[in-house]
Symmetry: C2
Subunit: 301 residues, 2 copies
């Protein structure tokens, strides 16, 4: 079943111990679309400026992503992010952020998108996330992602958006900030008390935790010998997770556990190359082969 | 089957966000003995000074631990450690260390201990670890633990001790230091290349990794809402792991995976109280109940 994503499209300049890449395609919606297309039809809702290279648009179209919701705004510039990773590469240092068109992003969905049964509202202003969610069917299965900027600066709007969705995805620091405890499990339980019925906590190299109706499940990260660039790992984790759910339609705890493993595997490819590089090389067969390895790595039998 | 442990006995002064405890029973051998006795007969080899309270000796004896290898040295003082945990409590800050009797610790095993089939050489001078290992039968199944002090300062002696044992237990920072890579999986693989056939990497709140003959398995930590005092978590992790192996006699990959889960569960009790407090309250039934919860938390079905 189709899966809609709304979020940022960016031109990223990234430095890691392995080198620097300038103005490569990035942003949560780009990463999510390219990851999720392995599982289902993807509908992209995002905004770019007239500096955005045509080749990226063509690439997304060629990969089967429905770009009817991609708005190119004349006279405006694309969102740009410059960041650096060092040492263990577990934290990105932001060197520069230029919001540009993203600052006024409040999309109206193309009519044919409003019946999309699955949706992911990538990190962004929770007022906009709620606005998009309200354009979808009340029966749609919708997750949102957020970050500390909104948890600290727009807490009420975020809690309102959260009440409108089926689940939330965030990283461990964000979960601690929202839950208000240094202890991650305590924070997860407090977030459940806020009315979040399903929560996915991404812990980077330490794996992920799933909470559904108070029940917990955890997975380690995929064991990789080398990480080239962590950019997009979180968004492609979400793409594998939501993609697997949209593909199977299985939103039970068991279905979400399996989806969590797909999220882990898709993210593991992302970090093996700069930006979308590696993710554009792979096919579904490679994802499923790595899933088998991962199930062995985490399985009891 | 019996399990021998050699390592430090300490009087610890610990400060956590939950308070301070002065001169409580600590040290790797204490923690290990009290954890492992739930699984098998434990033989303790350690040294204390004449400042060591009799009540602690009585407690160990009452718990069924064979203390024939516990040497009280007259005119000497027990090893003392003072440390502090703050915030997420993932790292201990050492405020003071007084080696005292531990500085000259080079035990000769009681004759009846030399045929012990399982042994754990807790963190200590690798020359002493090798010395103890050589007093055991060549067929004994022996693991050692180590730390950065020896990895950096006594690397050759450590590698020699490692070649004499069946496996190594260390935390993730120590594995990175020994393996020489910021990437933990790369470090694990390099340690395997050094001739370590089985390695357990303890990652604290992030779980543990097991490597045997190049094959990997990972577990998250037990989900706890509150951590009171992490002291002894690593040693009791090892006690559950080695205890389960000594109990079952199963040293296959499958047996070690199950033992890793027991290590996780035993460590989860340790951190719920100051020092040995919580670990002294529980019985085997509680351990097995928590194991069931943990298997659900990590299992696919």
């Amino acid at each position: 079943m189709s899966l809609l994503v709304t979020g940022s499209m960016a031109l990223d300049t990234i430095t890691t111990p392995h080198g620097t890449r300038e103005a490569v395609l990035g942003g949560a919606a780009s990463f999510f679309s390219v990851g999720a297309r392995h599982f289902t039809d993807v509908r992209l809702v995002a905004v770019i400026g007239d500096d955005f290279p045509d080749e990226h648009v063509a690439m997304l179209r060629d990969r089967g992503i429905d770009i009817e919701g991609l708005e190119r705004r004349a006279g405006a510039k694309t969102f740009r992010w410059t960041g650096r990773y060092a040492g263990r590469m577990d934290v990105a240092e932001t060197l520069d952020t230029q919001l540009n068109v993203l600052g006024e992003f409040k999309p109206t969905l193309p009519g044919k998108f409003t019946d999309t049964p699955f949706a992911f509202l990538a990190n962004g202003d929770p007022v906009t996330q709620a606005w998009v969610r309200d354009q979808l069917s009340p029966n749609a299965f919708v997750f949102l992602d957020t970050m500390n900027f909104w948890i600290e600066g727009s807490r009420d709007a975020l809690l309102e958006a959260i009440r409108k969705v089926n689940g939330v995805v965030m990283n461990d620091d964000e979960a601690r900030a929202l839950g208000g405890s240094d202890n991650l499990i305590a924070s997860v339980n407090r977030i459940a008390d806020m009315g979040v019925s399903t929560l996915v906590v991404k812990k980077g190299e330490h794996g992920a935790i799933l909470m559904k109706d108070g029940e917990l499940f955890a997975l380690p990260a995929y064991p990789l010998e080398a990480v080239f660039d962590p950019t997009g790992a979180g968004d492609t984790f979400a793409s594998g997770f939501m993609g697997a759910v949209a593909e199977s339609g299985d939103t039970t705890f068991q279905g979400l556990k399996r989806a969590l493993a797909y999220g882990t595997v898709v993210a593991s490819f992302t970090v093996e190359g700069f930006g979308l590089e590696r993710l554009l090389e792979i096919d579904r067969e490679e994802i499923d082969r790595r899933l088998e390895v991962f199930l062995k790595f985490t399985g009891w039998e």
